[in-house]
Symmetry: C2
Subunit: 270 residues, 2 copies
DNA sequence: CATTGAGTCCCATATCCTGAGAAACTGGGG
DNA sequence: CCCCAGTTTCTCAGGATATGGGACTCAATG
């Protein structure tokens, strides 16, 4: 769905196909039968079958009792290992919880990957409309507060690279649809220190984000607070931003991102 | 590490290799360079390189700033999707939290996959020695309370199948090392309704588990409470077991596992 | 400056994957 | 009970596809 045509200089057909299978099963709400997989991906049934058997041997997919396929728990294992290397998530959690307690709105923790932001954690207030975000999923930068927050503190070179790769898809009336508009928005963000998404991604949803800077003032991620526009009003923005800044400061301290530049950045790449 | 030789009738070399790469990166504490990957897996430099490039294109691995490779966040995405299909985890969480509050020990939620148990959630008490379990990882059935709890309520056929496939690796002095011994242990578990792991997996760690039964009284998982032996004493076992039973009952109710047998089990395979 | 080791890239070859097709199931309905 | 349609499983020979030898670059080291 996201990147339908995985082209590139290096190719291993079998891998592209295998990931296409996993993608398909991941997108699907319900488990799929062999025939469905084969036809969806235009694979020969015997090819699809072989792939599924191999994937099953690796526990990347598993079969339900009625013989259909769905994603396997090995992926869950891998996912946890992957995220573990970012101990950011773990360290940030207590701070996020406090933030949620203070604001009573949903908080997200994100990092930038390539030209998109990935949600690596979400904390929801005790009772609230449940947000539809899925941890692990990614969004474009141009229509999210976290995207703009990170963008604003990136070196110019990275910014233009990312803007070049962004498609500026429209989601609502207010979605920022051009690179120029986003540039002025970034400027604004940089000045006031926090980014706002005012129903630019979803009707009725307002978000506000602050970047998380490492010792070199490089944005390693961002924290946001999101809620329905009628609760997250314009007047409340500064107050929420303040909570966000406190939260981010706490995380920075925990991560050892003190202003004194660290001697090595080996363990903490962008 | 776990299953070093992924043999089977169906084979796709490229996939086996790709997963070996992911495995390697997942096991490794630190990111690895191309040369390390190639030599660890006995792959040619150029082969390893191509795989890593393709995996990177799919975001299954990513490069740190110093050019080394580690697991990518796409895996995190997949992992979350995989676990989402088990809404068990989500539903169970509040109950687990309460259980942890009551017992002040760590709680785990597990399911059975093939012949091993997989930890799909872990809740830790506010302050406690941190347990080393990693969510998503799997353990054999014979040395864990959850394994025994599930085993005890499985149909005979499945039990013998699993016992046949278990290697009865020893971890401590007390590890149950034979199928016969495990059988009598299972019998005991069935009678008293809860399973105990008395330092059978790790020195000084005692666990107690209760199975989570669906409407057909089929064990879909298990919940356990674990803590240092000096706190989780023999006298406390019945009391903890009681909390566990309450917890599991709550989850069952939430999942709709009422005693009245449900009309369809399509959505809930083993 | 030579040397060593890591990473990137190209290309002819043989290996490994592909997909046609047939067999084995499954589960309705007549 | 039998047949049929749909699905899954299995086999095999041909050829597309991944393989790995090797050349090249770059950086670090002596």
């Amino acid at each position: 769905m996201r990147d339908a045509a995985p082209q590139g200089t290096y190719k291993v057909q079998a891998l592209d196909r295998a990931f296409a299978v996993l993608d398909l099963l991941g997108e699907s709400e319900t488990p799929l039968g062999l025939a469905q997989v084969a036809s969806s991906l235009q694979l020969h049934k015997s090819t699809a079958h072989r792939f599924l058997m191999v994937l099953e041997r690796h526990h990347m997919v598993e079969r339900t009792t009625n013989g259909k396929f769905r994603l396997g728990l090995r992926l869950f294992d891998f996912g946890n290992r992957a995220i573990e290397q970012y101990d950011l998530r773990e360290r940030a959690q207590p701070h996020l919880r406090r933030l949620v307690a203070e604001t009573e709105e949903t908080a997200h923790l994100c990092v930038l990957e390539q030209a998109r932001v990935i949600y690596i954690d979400k904390i929801e207030p005790a009772r609230s409309v449940r947000m539809i975000t899925r941890i692990g999923s990614s969004n474009p930068v141009h229509c999210t507060s976290v995207g703009k927050a990170i963008l604003a503190f990136l070196p110019e070179e990275r910014i233009s690279d990312i803007l070049r790769r962004t498609k500026f898809e429209r989601f609502t009336q207010r979605t920022i649809a051009t690179a120029e508009a986003l540039r002025t928005e970034i400027e604004k963000t940089r000045r006031r220190g926090y980014a706002v998404d005012d129903e630019e991604y979803e009707e009725g949803l307002r978000c506000i984000a602050v970047p998380l800077l490492d010792a070199q003032r490089f944005p390693v991620g961002a924290v946001s607070v999101s809620g329905p526009s009628f609760r997250v009003t314009a007047q409340k923005l500064p107050s929420i931003a303040n909570h966000l800044v406190q939260c981010v400061r706490g995380i920075s301290a925990d991560m050892g991102f003190t202003s004194a530049s660290r001697n090595s950045r080996v363990a903490w790449p962008a």
